[in-house]
């Protein structure tokens, strides 16, 4: 797994980065500065330039920003109004510059930029530039803002009980949400920039003192190896830094639920948040993490445990049910209770296809329906469900192409798959389900168990940032079991997961004892 990262590094050396660099310094002339800027950006119409004369010296200065990226109210009130209303301004350029920098801008974050490079990126990120004629430094005023989606309930991970907030596309807001949950000064946000052209901000979040420092180092090492021009979504990052790109199983979890991210941070994991996407990445993970829902901890522990058990069972059904059905029907009908065997045999009378083909057809149809439902607008998506599920199923049975029991099996499989909390793992289950189906079509139960062993072999060799995917089962961590199959009562979960090797192993200062 390390090797795959290394390969990418090699590739990086070979490729010639074709990046436009503008290391040139700003000139003293305001007009040439403004023209340079225009030229670089290609005179876009969303580049707004406002020139004004200041003070008694009538020094020209220019305010430039990109429309839509800035909070125009801030520009007006905190910059423009201040400048215009200012009195007793110095008459000399440099002094004026210092005066403005020190006194006139009622914006918190102001920087100075001397090269074109230094100023273009902030400009494109939503800062406002302030040029003053005769000064070869521009002021970079952070006015980023503009339109953004309001905080809504996450669509992909809905809970019955739990916070109704989800991440949005704005990084600052997302970080703030996390901060609101963890008011610990040790919470660290390390910013990186990704994408040669997109230059998106990417934040590695972790709690210092809990997290294993070697893990952070490894995450950052991998992040630095990223070399693409644009990072649209956190999936790009995931694809670059995951251990094995061949595995059908996700090795990094994504979530748009802040509470989930916070819980992971407190366990000693690392989160990566990317500008422009509500999906945060969590790492490292193991298989048991992926079947856990945030809600397990919100409900009372008995409910949490039982629901978790139900989900494990759903995962089992989702993978094995069609395969088991096929093997029972073709190779091991002796395992069915007699009367059931007879009635299945009767119901399959006249069905033209063998069970394997029948199951494959129906599962494939189900996949089509799911995909179609996901692509269509929500209102029509529901219609697809009805048309596909009910009409096609019913018609297929009526036409005698499939047996009614097959429809039940496929529906049950699909429902089980929906019960799995993470979409990324649910989709891997859908993939390996077909593998099991074929294995059972050839060898029956023997094929299923061989396929199961193979999946397990893959599991034990798979790692997520060095954590074996099969933890805490193997390598075995006894103490981690209070939150794997059984979700112990909250006051019993004293330890952070051992497989993460956190610095601070105990989540309760007093070992759960009252003072």
């Amino acid at each position: 797994m390390v090797r795959s990262i290394m390969n990418r590094r090699k590739r990086k050396k070979n490729s010639q980065p074709q990046q436009h660099k503008y290391p040139q310094n700003l000139s003293k002339q305001l007009t040439s500065n403004v023209n340079n800027l225009k030229q670089i950006l290609g005179e876009p119409h969303d580049l707004k330039i406002r020139q004004l004369k200041l003070g008694e010296g009538n020094i020209t200065c220019a305010i430039t920003y990109i429309d839509g990226l800035v909070d125009s109210k801030t520009v007006q009130v905190s910059i423009l109004a201040n400048l215009e209303n200012a009195k007793q301004l110095p008459t000399e350029g440099k002094e004026l510059f210092q005066h403005i920098y020190n006194k006139l801008l009622s914006v918190i974050h102001v920087e100075k930029g001397k090269t074109l490079d230094e100023i273009t990126l902030p400009l494109l990120s939503g800062s406002t530039l302030l040029y003053i004629d005769g000064v070869e430094t521009a002021l970079i005023v952070d006015t980023s803002g503009g339109e953004m989606r309001s905080i809504e309930e996450p669509v992909t991970e809905t809970l019955i009980r739990g916070p109704r907030e989800g991440f949005i596309e704005n990084l600052q807001t997302n970080l703030a949400i996390i901060r609101r949950h963890i008011k610990d000064p040790n919470l660290r946000f390390k910013t990186h920039q990704t994408g040669r052209r997109s230059k998106k901000n990417l934040v590695v979040a972790y709690v210092d003192g809990i997290v294993n420092p070697a893990l952070v180092k490894e995450v950052e090492r991998r992040l630095q190896s990223i070399d693409i021009d644009i990072v649209l979504e956190s999936g790009y990052v995931e694809g670059w830094i995951e251990d094995s790109f061949l595995s059908p199983f996700p090795q990094i979890m994504n979530s748009e639920r802040p509470d989930k991210v916070v819980a992971a941070l407190m366990q000693g994991k690392v989160a990566i948040l990317l500008e422009g996407t509500p999906f945060a990445l969590l790492m490292p993970i193991n298989f048991s993490n992926i079947l856990q829902s945030a809600e397990d901890r919100y409900e009372r522990w008995i409910i949490g445990t039982l629901l978790r058990g139900l989900r494990y069972f759903a995962a089992f059904l989702s993978i094995f049910l069609p395969a088991l059905y096929v093997s029972l029907l073709t190779l091991q009908p002796g395992m069915l209770p007699s009367m059931l065997a007879f009635s299945i045999a009767a119901s399959r009378e006249g069905v033209p296809f063998p069970p394997l083909i029948e199951a494959f057809m129906m599962l494939f149809t189900m996949e089509l329906l799911q995909e179609a439902g996901a692509r269509l607008p929500q209102t029509i998506g529901q219609t697809i469900g009805i048309v596909g599920g009910l009409v096609i199923g019913e018609a297929a049975v009526q036409a005698g192409i499939v047996s009614p029991i097959m429809v039940i099996i496929v529906a049950l499989t699909a429902i089980s798959n929906f019960a799995i909390p993470a979409y990324s793992i649910a989709i891997s289950f859908r993939i390996i389900r077909f593998g099991f189906l074929f294995a059972s079509g050839i060898f029956g139960l023997y094929g299923i168990i061989l396929a199961y062993i193979m999946v397990n072999i893959h599991f034990v060799n798979l790692k997520s940032f060095g954590v074996p995917y099969s933890t805490p089962f193997a390598p075995f961590f006894k103490r981690d079991f209070h939150d794997v199959i059984v979700r112990s009562p909250i006051h019993q979960i004293k330890d952070r997961p051992e497989y993460l090797q956190p610095q601070d192993t105990v989540s309760m200062d007093n070992q759960g004892e009252k003072k």
Partner: protein, 387 residues
């Protein structure tokens, strides 16, 4: 990672290439054989008798269900073949039926009385069934009077499958009346290997199919030697202390009353000091409820109850003794499994006599039985007496 991929791909592609699917038979193409019956075709030469084997194959669509009215279709077909080797005959089914015969759902094996009475034949027949790994050891074996294949044609409205009907009948019957529990292929194997005597259910088809007796098999002789009637079966069950509900009636001052035995504790003690006259002490503790009386006495009185209890004890011990004598003198079979008591508690003695227990010296014939019954009536029902 590369190695994983190579292996993974290699195995996957191999699996896909190997789409021979040698054993794949679709469920609707299988002929589920649920019952077998074995009859003896008139045999002149006795060393290799000719057999008639009937295989009952289910027709799924004939079984009435919620979705499927069943209609006039029969739920089964009986295929008959004759020959000398059971296995060969079973293979022949494949040539007559359009389905692949499938034996894993075989539940009942009905053997005709005539077959059972032939020495060693029964054991040899069972060999075929035991040798096949795909057969269940839980197949129920019953003996039928006259023709066994007729039994496989008997249906009732709620049980369209005769073989299933027999299985159900035996299981329910043993649970509710406390008569002999159904005997499976596995049990018989055990008896035969140990050379034990045993009793199998005996079915008779008149107007209805009924379970009226037990067929007694003699271990060393390896054949059926006689019949136990229902009273004998009850006595046998009492002797063995089988924990099922039993109903027994006893006379009381010219009238009779019926007791339902709910708890039964039987203790067997064997005194083997004199092997030519082994003493068997059976202590039975019986607890039950009075279910039916034809008498006028008030059962609320302690005295009456006590005398009723005594009568019952006497009746039980009388019946057990009768049956014991029948088994001992008439058939010479130790179906009471007294040998087991000897083997486990008097191991050295048993080593000496085990070859002469039911044969040779016939020590079993000289054994004496002493029965001691204690009856306890713990409920007399809802009323004290009827006029």
């Amino acid at each position: 990672m590369k190695k994983n991929r190579n292996c993974f791909l290699g195995i996957c592609s191999l699996l896909l290439i190997l789409t021979g699917c040698w054993d794949v038979v679709n469920i609707e193409d299988r002929g589920f054989i649920i019952g077998n019956s074995i009859d003896l075709v008139d045999s002149a030469n006795s060393d290799q008798p000719e057999l008639l084997v009937t295989n009952q194959i289910v027709i799924g669509s004939g079984i009435p269900s919620a979705a499927n009215e069943g209609g006039d279709k029969k739920a089964f077909i009986n295929f008959k073949t004759t020959g000398k080797s059971i296995y060969k005959m079973e293979e022949e089914i494949a040539t007559i039926s359009n389905n692949t015969p499938f034996y894993e759902h075989l539940t009942t094996l009905i053997v005709s009385e005539k077959v059972a009475e032939k020495e060693r034949l029964f054991t040899n027949l069972l060999d075929t069934y035991l040798r096949n790994v795909n057969l269940r050891r839980g197949i129920q074996v019953v003996i039928a009077k006259n023709e066994a294949n007729k039994v496989l044609e008997y249906t009732t409205p709620d049980f369209p499958l005769p073989a299933m009907h027999i299985e159900e009948m035996l299981e329910r019957g043993s649970r509710e009346t406390g008569l002999l529990s159904p005997t499976t292929l596995g049990d018989i194997e055990e008896y035969q290997l140990n050379n034990n005597s045993y009793v199998l259910p005996y079915l008779e088809l008149k107007d209805v199919l009924s379970y009226q007796a037990g067929a007694v098999f003699h271990g060393p002789k390896d054949k059926m030697v006689g019949l136990f009637n229902m009273d004998d079966m009850l006595a046998l069950s009492l002797f063995r202390g089988e924990k099922t509900t039993k109903i027994i009636e006893a006379p009381f001052k010219d009238n009779t009353f019926t007791l339902q035995i709910n708890r039964l504790n039987s203790t067997l003690n064997v005194d083997s000091s004199d092997i030519s006259a082994i003493k068997i002490n059976l202590t039975l503790e019986v607890e039950g409820i009075i279910k039916e009386t034809f008498m006028t006495e008030d059962l609320s009185s302690q005295k009456v109850v006590e005398s009723v209890q005594d009568e019952m004890s006497k009746e039980i011990s009388k019946r057990i003794k009768e049956t014991f004598t029948k088994a001992q003198k008439e058939f010479g079979t130790d179906v009471f499994r007294i040998w087991q008591e000897l083997e486990t508690k008097h191991y050295e003695k048993w080593q000496k006599i085990k070859d002469n227990w039911e044969e040779g010296e016939y020590y079993f014939k000289d054994a004496q039985l002493i029965v001691d019954v204690v009856t306890e009536i713990y409920s007399i029902g809802a009323i004290n007496r009827t006029r």
